[in-house]
């Protein structure tokens, strides 16, 4: 330690800030440049379809029951072979999520018996009024795969009798 140390430290501070001036900025220019979300990020909900285009959601309302914020509203209707939306007896004729209430806890995902609802990657949820905060089924539903048909489909009798598919236990 010498008596000049405090003065030297002041100069060293200046040197540090000057050096950092020539570093690459860490800024991500957001609307043009987006950062990948994490693997288990919980964003906007997505309602999925099977490969044949049928909706996975069977209108059981378990997600609504599991929702701690009471954000989900489901109304179920009967499927027929003439107008089939999902396998099994029923489908969700109305499916609404109030994004102002949702806390993105992911309990709906856990409650779903058919893995129909998952929390996706989209976090750009902004709206000008409260009404448009309610996301309806057609906003949440995935697009139809290119090889499949839109719902409602006309299906053969006795094929899609089981509402919950056979599946393995989730791994992650």
């Amino acid at each position: 330690m010498s008596a000049l140390d405090p003065a030297v430290e002041l100069i060293r501070g200046l040197w540090v800030t000057l050096k950092s001036m020539f570093e690459k900025p860490v800024t991500i220019q957001y609307p043009e440049e987006k950062r990948e979300v994490r693997k288990r990020f919980r964003g906007r909900h997505e309602l999925h379809r099977y490969d044949n285009g049928l909706e996975k959601c069977i209108g059981c309302s378990l997600c609504a029951a599991a929702c701690p914020a009471d954000a989900i509203f489901v109304e179920a209707s009967e499927n027929t072979d003439e107008k089939r939306f999902s396998p099994g007896e029923r489908y969700a004729s109305t499916y609404e999520i109030n994004m102002l209430r949702c806390i993105y806890c992911g309990y709906c995902e856990d409650a779903c018996p058919t893995e129909a609802i998952t929390l996706g990657d989209n976090y750009e949820l902004s709206y000008y009024d409260r009404r448009s905060a309610i996301y309806t089924k057609d906003m949440l539903l995935d697009p139809v795969p290119a090889t499949a048909m839109l719902t409602p489909q006309k299906t053969e009798a006795g094929v899609f009798t089981r509402s919950v598919p056979e599946m393995e236990n989730p791994k992650d």
Partner: protein, 373 residues
């Protein structure tokens, strides 16, 4: 009696150019500061409005103009209104004595590139700089708010304390320049800039001006963590913008004055043949000095208020008295012996004198830390 109307026109145009340069300079200084601070913090800074964010100051101005003007219910309305004006006006008129160059020939007429070459330019600068404190203390008092009041009081105490060192650190320049006129002072520096003859004086001037314009690390009057915004806590809209303007214009002007006193003003290679290079050199010097201000702001934390005061009175004031004495002695020795080499005793003795407070502060701090342990 001046009857030549073109002279009036010349003065008018020059004044107008200065005012617009200061107003435009203020706007782009905020942009410059934000960009430079951002780069120092490895960010990008404002880059959305216009190319490279160059329209950002305009966007800010529009925002400030359209904001609501509030005044506290129990404020002294007249003084509350007067204070921003009193702060802004000195920061503009102080620029009148700053020379930007020698003279240019426009349509067969010699036009000096300065507004006024008064023979007491340094005194003018000092007195106008002292007036600026009124606006701040009146703003603090008229707001009828404790934050504003404390901010105003702090800033008055600080400005008055550091003004002494500021004035004393200019005496070596006056002695070396043998004049109080800014143009004469610049012309005397054609051989060597005064910063090399009196580096400690330049350093004291720099510190005192940082305190004078309330910049970090002396931004005590507007210490956000303690006083919200200090003396302009209660101001909004255009009145706030005037304070903001005054602060940044003072920065520009102080850097210009610093360039004139210590860094050779408009002098530079080729300025004898092309006088128009003078303003260019001034601009470059002001630009670099402003960067130093921003750099210091980005680096050093704020002083504690009692330390600020004891630094001003116990360190800077004796030191500036010492360098006045050293400079005078050096000039006297050079005169009496007729040997100009004696001038070089000034920087040597000044640096030695400057090292004494550094050592003393170090020992005082060490003693304090022993007492605490």
């Amino acid at each position: 009696m001046i009857t030549d109307w073109t002279l009036w026109l010349e003065w008018f145009v020059k004044a107008l150019v200065w005012i617009f340069a200061l107003l435009g300079g203020f706007a782009y200084l905020t942009y410059y500061e934000r960009r430079a601070l951002a780069r120092i913090q490895t960010r990008v800074g404002p880059n959305r409005a216009g190319p490279f964010g160059l329209l950002q100051p305009i966007a800010d101005a529009v925002k400030l103009i359209f904001k609501e003007e509030l005044s506290p219910a129990k404020a002294y309305k007249f003084v509350f209104f007067l204070a921003p004006i009193l702060t802004l006006v000195p920061s503009i008129i102080i620029a009148a004595v700053i020379p930007l160059g020698r003279s240019i020939n426009v349509f067969g007429r010699e036009i000096n590139l300065y507004l006024a070459n008064i023979n007491v330019g340094v005194l003018y600068f000092m007195s106008i700089a002292a007036i600026a404190v009124y606006g701040i203390v009146l703003a603090g008092w008229a707001s009828n708010s404790k934050y504003a009041m404390l901010g105003g009081l702090r800033s008055t105490a600080q400005m008055i304390s550091y003004e002494l060192s500021l004035g004393l650190s200019l005496i070596p320049v006056i002695l070396l320049g043998n004049s109080m006129s800014m143009v004469d002072i610049v012309e005397k520096q054609s051989d060597i800039w005064f910063v090399f003859i009196q580096p400690v004086g330049a350093f004291i001037f720099w510190i005192a001006t940082l305190a004078e314009v309330n910049r970090a690390p002396f931004d005590m009057p507007e210490a956000e963590q303690e006083l919200t915004a200090g003396y302009h806590s209660e101001y909004s809209g255009m009145k706030f913008a005037l304070f903001f303007m005054a602060e940044y214009q003072k920065m520009i002007v102080i850097c210009a004055v610093m360039a004139v006193f210590f860094f050779g003003g408009y002098l530079g290679p080729g300025v004898d043949q092309y006088p128009l290079l003078g303003p260019v050199y001034m601009f470059i010097k002001i630009f670099l000095l402003l960067f130093a201000m921003i750099w210091v702001r980005a680096t050093w934390p704020r002083f504690r208020y009692d330390r600020l005061m004891s630094f001003g009175w116990k360190v800077l004031l004796p030191l500036s008295l010492a360098i006045v004495f050293i400079t005078a002695t050096g000039i006297l020795l050079a005169d009496q012996t007729g040997n100009a080499m004696w001038m070089w005793s000034i920087p040597v003795a000044s640096v030695i004198a400057g090292l004494i407070p550094v050592v003393t502060i170090y020992q005082a701090l060490r003693r304090l830390s022993y007492e605490r342990a």
